[in-house]
């Protein structure tokens, strides 16, 4: 073994330091994993990509405002605000502009990506690296960020579980749901709102890449593995939570960036589930 490679005893010795970021990754992965089932089923993957990118821009703007303008806007709040702004833009009925939904998504995604890099270029000499914001290279999590991730995550998870049947019915048979008086449009907005909230809060703590990974890959893996939706939801939560925790361990022992490791573990679950699905058929 390479002498510099961290050992299990190194990890245990410094566990106090790593506990909060692991807990943060597990909580964010679990809740985003739960949401990811609906994100995948409703074909909202690129919506989520855009929201995470907008949140990344928001975090960068928060730091920029603090460093250069002396405005004290918490980066989590600025992330939420930009994510909400992006959600508002992409919730507009694109067909009224004679545009496809995906072209609106692409335009907002590119705008946010370019702006994040430009703003990030002006804060790189400070303590906050744009790489940490977009790719989640930060090893530690601030206590207030953890509290926010746990609090907001709990609220989002409970709401998602309570409304799951409404989300399923209005996605599976939207016309049938409308005829039976379900608030289909409201449920759609609620789902986008829950995703925006969770993505906005977790991007500040973890970075845009792992947040996007948790928002899609656990759902894909769970839908591959589970023969029915009732099993896919808890399984996706489990895959997401495991990706958050195991990804951190992979980063520690492999000396990799944290966010990329978490996203890679989540992708690993997808790869593992493909043969399972092929064997199961259906």
């Amino acid at each position: 073994m390479h002498p510099e490679t961290p050992t299990w005893s190194d990890f245990v010795a410094a566990f106090e330091l790593f506990r909060d970021p692991i807990l943060c990754g597990v909580a964010a992965g679990g809740v985003l994993g739960l949401l990811s089932v609906f994100i995948v089923l409703r074909r909202m993957v690129f919506v989520t990509a855009t929201l995470t990118q907008a949140s990344g821009l928001g975090v960068a703007l928060g730091f920029f405002a603090h460093i250069h303008l002396d405005w004290h806007i918490p980066p989590t709040l600025s992330a939420l605000l930009t994510a909400l702004g992006a959600a508002g833009l992409i919730s507009l009925r694109a067909e009224r502009l004679r545009l496809s939904r995906e072209s609106v998504l692409a335009a907002v995604w590119l705008l946010c990506s370019a702006a994040a890099v430009l703003v990030g270029d002006r804060i790189t000499q400070e303590a906050h690296d744009i790489g940490a914001i977009l790719f989640g290279t930060a090893v530690l999590v601030r206590p207030e960020d953890l509290q926010l991730v746990l609090g907001v995550g709990g609220l989002v998870a409970v709401t998602t579980i309570l409304c799951r049947e409404g989300f399923v019915f209005s996605g599976f048979d939207p016309d049938g749901a409308r005829v039976q008086g379900l608030p289909v449009r409201l449920l759609e907005l609620l789902l986008v709102g829950l995703i925006t909230l969770e993505v906005g809060v977790t991007t500040r703590a973890l970075g845009a890449l792992p947040v996007f990974g948790f928002s899609v890959l656990p759902g894909v893996a769970a839908l591959l593995a589970a023969p029915r939706l009732g099993w896919a939801l808890p399984l996706a939560g489990l895959f997401g939570a495991l990706s958050g925790g195991l990804g951190y361990l992979l980063a520690f022992f492999g000396m990799f960036p944290v966010g990329a490791s978490q996203a890679a573990v989540a992708a690993g679950f997808v790869v593992l589930m493909i043969p399972l699905r092929a064997l199961r058929g259906g």
Binding site: L41, L162, E165, P183, P227, R228, G230
Partner: protein
């Protein structure tokens, strides 16, 4: 519009569940058909006949309030269940048969309440699909799917059901079974049914009333089924399609 005389098969005093008064449908402000006036009463089975693109689905959507009408009025006087065309269901969702049937019982914000399995089992039993309860909907044959959607309709407790081409993807045997089951259910539960179908023989055998629409000739014919199926406009399009022994006197 041609409106034939009322049918002797249906009690005129049966309550009206759906009323269309001079209902106009169309696209971008242009009417597709002449205004349609009809009353759907409890226990009636209506067949809606027309060629592809004639506006049957648009008419259904206006009746259901899913799309605005260009003119006229629709009164929905009972709870309605709707079975959309088969491609309207998103089969990416791995929902079980029991979950699909349960959807029939949900109204408004009812999805927040815990569900009673008993009502689902009763509905599945009514259509002879109990054995399918735990299977995923998307894995079923077209005939089985229709059976399950009829169970959802039963579970809904609705008094009026609108079905848009429920037998579109079925072979002749499955189609006849599905229409027979639909007829049995409406008799058993006193259900009024409005069904769009291209399979004329099966529909004619069970329909009390019919609505024939033809945008090319700007023709709407409404009335007792046997009279509509022998109307000159209908015969000009379809010829004599009535099964033996079902000709109007």
């Amino acid at each position: 519009m041609d409106t034939t005389t009322s049918s002797p098969l249906v009690a005129a005093e049966a309550p009206i569940l759906l009323r269309c008064e001079a209902l106009e449908i169309g696209y971008r402000g242009r009417p597709l058909l002449p205004p349609i006036t009809l009353d759907v009463r409890a226990g009636e089975l209506w067949a809606v006949i027309g060629r592809n693109g004639s506006g049957k689905t648009t008419l259904f959507r206006a009746m259901l309030g899913l799309n605005p009408a260009l003119g006229g009025r629709v009164q929905r006087l009972a709870e309605i269940a709707y079975v959309a065309q088969r491609m309207s269901f998103d089969e990416l969702y791995p929902v079980t048969v029991a979950e699909v049937v349960r959807q029939g019982t949900v109204r408004g914000w009812g999805f927040l309440r815990p569900w009673r399995r008993a009502s689902v089992d009763e509905a599945l039993d009514a259509v002879g699909a109990t054995a399918l309860a735990d299977r995923t909907f998307r894995a079923l044959s077209e005939g089985q799917k229709q059976r399950v959607l009829l169970a959802r309709l039963v579970a809904s407790g609705a008094k009026l059901a609108l079905l848009d081409e429920p037998t579109a993807a079925m072979d002749a045997v499955a189609e006849r079974e599905a229409m027979g089951l639909l007829d049995n259910l409406r008799k058993r539960y006193g259900l009024a049914v409005v069904v769009v179908s291209h399979h004329l023989a099966a529909t004619q055998a069970i329909a009390d009333k019919a609505l024939f629409i033809d945008p090319d000739d700007q023709r709407v014919v409404v009335g007792p089924a046997q009279e509509v199926f022998h109307h000159t406009s209908f015969l000009a399009r379809y010829g004599d399609t009535c099964p033996e022994g079902t000709h109007a006197p």
